[in-house]
Point group: C2
Chain length 258, copies 2
């Protein structure tokens, strides 16, 4: 097994670049998965990583060893603990990182889609991708102002949801919405129709806006079905990821086999 | 208006202590609300703050000025910008802080309650309190291992939800659950009953566990109705706050007036 001990190693420098910015990740077409859980979800989805990186403790770790046995054809490199820690965002790194190609989004006819406009908090974006994957959405479209879906924080928050979704970044949502053949839903406090009374059994796409500002008026105007989430409490306010989960799983409820 | 310019001012030192730890906040029975939005929600709920703190910019701010006109009887103190910034967690402070008494939790017969066990992420806890307030829950019970509900991060994430709920911290949830007269629901991947098929119209309490570990077996065993959230996607995984929102609003859906 190769062992990198110097910050000046050219491969290590490439890895550091990937952690530094969205731009570098897109240019390389690669990102890093941090930790055994994410790597397991990636393998479960049928993908193979490019390269495996370990720290010293990982060599003795039973979970990591059994994960490694599932991977054929990817080289494994040990990094000095200090170098490894600099690539990880975790305070206590699990000891394994995987270099992966950004999966190409497969073109799908979206029966159940999510359009995200300027969702900027990585935790919210990750939670939304995780909910979308669990709900069985087939595609998620992100506007250019969204957080980078393949950044370490979003990957961590989505817990593997990325690998079961077609994720389209840098999208002109106006065009996506105009070309969509199905119901376009947007939640708003002003609508008179309740989410719970709207038929969600056909082709549907939910549009979700920025955490503070909501959807831009231009995109909201394209909603064929503006709906409210009924809120009987004294405040009418939900976190954007919570509201998205409620919408997606009301659709799950209605779309169940009878 | 009093103007504090020195870190050695005794009142200022007391304020710094409040930001430092849960223990100090509980000892004083006070906390700080950061920003105009939270203060507005606090006033809307019928409470009056102890003391208002401003930075220089706030003296010129129209929103803050109109908020201040709603408050009678609370002294106002200006802090030097540097001192003010040290009390605020925000990178760009809105310029107003309110010193408040921790509201006493009113004893209620909970028709619709939430029991939170070891929910440790402040963003998740805040989102859950916000969802609970919007859904019309009447009480939330927190185990000792939960994040501090009255910390700045949780207050910010809950967006005023605190002021419409009875929040009981440091609770023995085992006792709370045993004494509850109604359905005790817990989501688990193992249950055979779907959330959507469970009658949620009577007295109900949802029990939610730690983000990683879920409910302890002891508390889960007290659930009268273990349920699953159906997940048709390729991953069976939801963020704890998203799962909580789905449960609470399925109850909202079922409890609507026909």
């Amino acid at each position: 097994m190769k062992h990198i001990q110097s910050r000046d190693n050219p491969f290590y420098k490439e890895l550091v670049k990937l952690t530094a910015s969205t731009r570098n990740r897109n240019k390389a077409g690669q990102t890093l998965l941090d930790g055994a859980h994410l790597l397991k979800a990636y393998l479960d989805a049928g993908y193979t990583p490019r390269h495996i990186l370990l720290n010293a403790a990982a060599l003795q770790d039973a979970e990591i060893t059994s994960l490694r046995q599932r991977i054929t054809g990817a080289p494994v490199t040990q990094l000095d603990d200090k170098l490894f820690a600099e690539l990880s965002e975790l305070k206590t790194p699990t000891g394994i990182l995987a270099l992966i190609d950004l999966p190409p989004a497969k073109i799908v006819t979206a029966r159940f889609a999510l359009l995200l406009e300027a969702v900027q908090d990585p935790g919210n974006l990750g939670s939304m991708l995780r909910s979308a994957a669990a709900a069985g959405c087939d595609a998620v479209f992100l506007s250019p102002a969204c957080a980078d879906a393949w950044s370490p924080k979003v990957l961590r928050a989505a817990m593997g949801g990325h690998f079961c979704l077609a994720i389209y970044e840098q999208q002109d949502l106006f065009k996506v919405a105009q070309g969509y053949s199905g119901k376009l839903l947007a939640t708003t406090l002003q609508a008179t129709d309740s989410l719970f009374d709207c038929d969600l059994t056909g082709n549907i796409a939910f549009m979700v806006g920025n955490e503070g500002a909501g959807l831009t008026p231009e995109l909201r105007a394209l909603a064929t079905h503006p709906v409210t989430i009924p809120m009987p409490g004294a405040v009418e306010s939900l976190n954007a990821a919570a509201a998205t989960a409620i919408c997606l799983f009301e659709a799950v409820r209605q779309r169940r086999a009878p």
